[in-house]
């Protein structure tokens, strides 16, 4: 009974290859923009709160 997935097995290698194909893509710009907007909105909100 093995305790986990053998990281060297063909299945593990293929799983990681499929996954890393997406993972290695650049993060789409609209996600970065979205985070900036959320961050900016929060900062201006907390400024208002402290005023």
């Amino acid at each position: 009974m093995n305790s986990g997935m053998d990281p060297h097995s063909e299945i593990s290698r293929n799983l990681r290859a499929v996954y890393q194909e997406v993972e290695s893509e650049e993060i789409p710009a609209h996600f970065l923009d979205l985070l900036e907007q959320l961050d900016a909105a929060e900062r201006s909100q907390s400024k208002k709160d402290t005023e």
Partner: protein
């Protein structure tokens, strides 16, 4: 009554770090790049709104994966399944990189992965590709560790069977009958 965060930037930074993996997980759930990114976007919005409930220092990646997964299943319940036509999409994506060596093997693997039931596929992806432990995967999927273990092991067995059949169908006297089994198993 927002909680004052000591390091307001670290939440955003950690979220950013987890994004590539989150996208890959979304893709493994949905199979369609456009829908996968919609799901990731919803997850970012939800995570941001809930950030006061996240304890800095705990596993942000697992927390985000849980949100994304819940989001995915609640959407599937309301919209119904719309991830059937993955065959064409994979071909489409593959044709973008025809020069890539070994792409055919990966295509076969994707096909085989796609035939797994959702719960088995997500279990083997979380443990075998996302880098989560069985315990973390169980938390994310809100089930017992034993359940995750058995899903992973069933997924692995199915993949082994499917992949072995496919590679054997390329040659040998039984090529015809095996490829028939193979194509009926993969569809």
């Amino acid at each position: 009554m927002t909680q004052v965060n000591e390091r307001p930037d670290s939440f955003k930074r950690e979220l950013l770090q987890a994004l590539p993996s989150l996208r890959a997980f979304a893709m493994s759930l949905i199979g369609n790049p456009h829908n996968a990114d919609d799901l990731v976007q919803d997850t970012i919005m939800k995570a941001w709104a809930k950030q006061s409930s996240f304890e800095m220092g705990t596993n942000m990646k697992a927390w985000l994966f849980t949100i994304l997964r819940n989001n995915f299943y609640s959407k599937m319940r309301t919209r119904g399944r719309e991830i059937q036509d993955t065959d064409g999409l994979f071909t489409e994506r593959l044709s973008v990189h025809p020069e890539q060596h070994g792409a055919l093997d990966l295509k076969d693997f994707r096909k085989a992965l796609d035939t797994l039931p959702d719960d088995q596929r997500e279990a083997i992806v979380l443990v075998g590709a996302s880098g989560f432990s069985y315990e973390e995967a169980a938390d994310i999927c809100e089930c017992a560790v034993g359940t995750i273990k058995s899903r992973v092991s069933r997924a692995r067995n199915s993949l082994q069977v499917l992949l072995k059949i496919e590679s054997e169908s390329d040659y040998g006297p039984d090529a015809v009958s095996i490829s028939q089994i193979s194509s009926s198993a993969v569809k």
